[in-house]
Symmetry: none
Subunit: 126 residues, 4 copies
DNA sequence: GTGGTCTAGACCACC
DNA sequence: GTGGTCTAGACCACA
């Protein structure tokens, strides 16, 4: 798996997002073992310390769990994962709505803009 | 005008947004004189260097213009302002749509989520 | 017997404490045979290596004794057991007193806090 | 100020405790500026990264606040500081009481042991 | 100057 | 082998 890091954002945050995405899409299941710090670092071509930090932050968020000498695992609590999804979508929506409001865009326009963006995507995907 | 800065984002970016918002809402008109660096710094209770940087960036974007010895002005070109609005809204939309897609949210759900968020806002604003 | 391990402390230390507690409460008597490494590991659902290490440390402290081919036994010397108790309580007291002192808590308050904690425990135990 | 680090505990935790103690004893006041990462590292003869980590953790606990380019400050919220003190004393008490209970020490004995430890301290201090 | 991030390399405790 | 911590040294964004 190739990942190109955006130089404008901390790499450790991008690693967190990368793993979260894998959990969301089911590539990583509840309770499944995560790759080791060293392996992930090799795969992502970053420093192990950076990966370590990303995983530790995920742990603080309750999404990962470390077991000494045994590696790290995705949390067993499905609730935590649902919570993560909810938080992410809430954040996306509120950023969008409040940003558009500041631009003076009406509600109808917002909905129309989203719809046309979606159609455009479909066109490109073909 | 009271402005609370988000400590997780560069202040100069937040100052740029603050001024852009004023242009969009018409509080600052096309070609109108902008407050001086010193005044803005006093009003926003920030370091003048930070304000300076924000205004310089706005100049780079073509939204502000400096006239030596006379201060800075909002650009006269209406086109620039329209462009700014368009860019901002495009960015907001694409961040929203691609983010939601990654979460596995369907198109219908996206529209519904936006709608319900808008209704909630109205409720709170009362 | 169910034991939940605190993930912030070495498991082998927790196993040592677990066994010490059993000796103190009399569930394990002076000179009694200790369960085998394999059995303990199965009971506690841990790695046998970890149990092995815990028992070795107990040996070093003079609390357990190994007899080749016959397993491990709680020491026969009652003195050793008393010593263990004394050490543990001394450590607990000095950690408590010096910690509270650093917090600026007066002697009277310390005693009162302990008393109220004890009463609360009784309430919960009901 | 000389500080000797206990090699059995993470240094960054000890730095956290060191600063907390200074806040508790009033050597650092609410809202006061903390020494910079580099200065503290020099003073404590440790690596700046280690200090950085300690301060970041304090921030997560709400005890310190960072302002970009301006340094770090003790939180302005007195409530947070009180909370910190309460947490620390609660932890000390429950560790003591539950530890003693496991040793089979009665309530009266606990209180007596604390009292005699306090008297001994006074004797030594003379 | 100040905090934030990153790399490289090392050592330790634990399993 | 696995996670956790630490050092040394560097670069960047920010004020």
């Amino acid at each position: 798996m190739k990942v190109a890091f955006d130089p404008n954002m901390p790499i450790y945050i991008q690693i967190m997002d990368f793993i979260k995405k894998q959990i969301i899409t089911g590539q990583l299941q509840q309770g499944e073992k995560l790759p080791s710090v060293r392996d992930l670092a090799a795969e992502l071509q970053t420093n192990p310390n950076t990966v370590q930090r990303a995983l530790q932050e995920l742990e603080r968020e309750g999404i990962a769990e470390a077991r000494r000498g045994m590696g790290r695992y995705v949390t067993h609590e499905g609730e935590k994962i649902m919570e993560m999804k909810r938080d992410m979508s809430k954040e996306l929506i509120s950023a969008f709505v409040s940003g558009m409001e500041a631009l003076g865009v009406s509600e109808e326009e917002m909905l129309m803009l989203v719809q046309s963006a979606l159609e455009q995507r479909k066109g490109e995907a073909r």
